[in-house]
Amino acid sequence: MLEQFIFVGVLLVVALFFPVVLIGLAWLLRPKRPNPRKSEIYECGLQPHGENWVQFKAQYYIFALVFLVFDVEAVFLFPWALVYNWLPLYAVLEGVLFIALLAAALVYAWQKGALEWM
């Protein structure tokens, strides 16, 4: 089984070199004329106002948490789905129960307003 991954390893090395070579090529070819006016942060043409910090809404964090829960659920479900064709009915129902519990959790989060944007 490990021989399969040798190709992946080689491809990853090639995939890493490819953008590096391109960016290196660009570094050779492009003009370099730094200028303090050019280096200003872009803010629609105005001077950057205030320090660079935005209020990080807690909403992003909730979405990331819900995503994490469903991600872990998916990792559990992949082996189940893989052997699905050889499973008896009660095993399929076990999987459906797993999904149903998480669907209930999603409905709970929805009703509590955790999935609203602001």
């Binding site: 490990l2 991954f5 910090w53 990080f56 807690a58 948490l65 995503f67 559990f76 893989l82 998480l102």
Partner: protein, 165 residues
């Protein structure tokens, strides 16, 4: 030195090196990025252990979800992203001594324990067997469902905590 040993040393060096980088980084965001590199090293180690599903699950869950979550948690803390943290605090010599002793004891234990190794090859359909055991009532069916309940609890807890803000 077989190829496998070389790769093991390489991935181990990546994982340990990234961990050291994470602990000694000056900015918290850099520490988070070093942590993601450490996850990648561990995924490589899983591949060497002939558990490709877990390597992919490591990338999927740890680098994808938990990495993002930790960076978000860092960003929620106001001002944390701007500070340059000192690398060591005042008791660094004592902590270093303690860590070295701990490392020595662990290394000695691992070295002299008679690990049961087997020359049998990992079966090719290990993932199918995992799936079958996972839903087998004499297998892990109950922990499977309990894991689902655990995830539901985590979600409910998260929603409750963040809502009270």
């Amino acid at each position: 030195m077989t190829v496998q040993q070389v790769l093991f040393l390489l991935f181990g060096a990546i994982a340990v090196g990234a961990a050291v980088g994470m602990v000694t980084a000056r900015k918290v965001f850099h520490a988070a990025l070093w942590m993601l590199l450490a996850f990648f090293g561990v995924a490589g180690l899983y591949v060497l252990l002939e558990a490709p599903f877990f390597a992919a699950a490591q990338l999927f869950v740890y680098m994808g979800a938990i990495g993002v979550l930790i960076i978000y948690a860092i960003m929620l803390t106001r001002g944390m992203m701007r500070q340059r943290l000192p690398r060591v605090n005042d008791q660094w010599w004592f902590a270093g001594l303690l860590a070295a002793v701990f490392l020595g004891v662990l290394a000695w234990l691992v070295w002299q324990h008679p690990w049961a190794t087997t020359a049998a090859a990992v079966p090719g359909d290990s993932l199918n067997r995992l799936g079958l055991t996972l839903v087998d009532p004499e297998g892990f069916a109950l922990p499977f469902e309990v894991a689902s309940v655990l995830l539901v609890m985590a979600l409910i807890g998260a929603v409750t905590i963040v809502r009270e803000r």
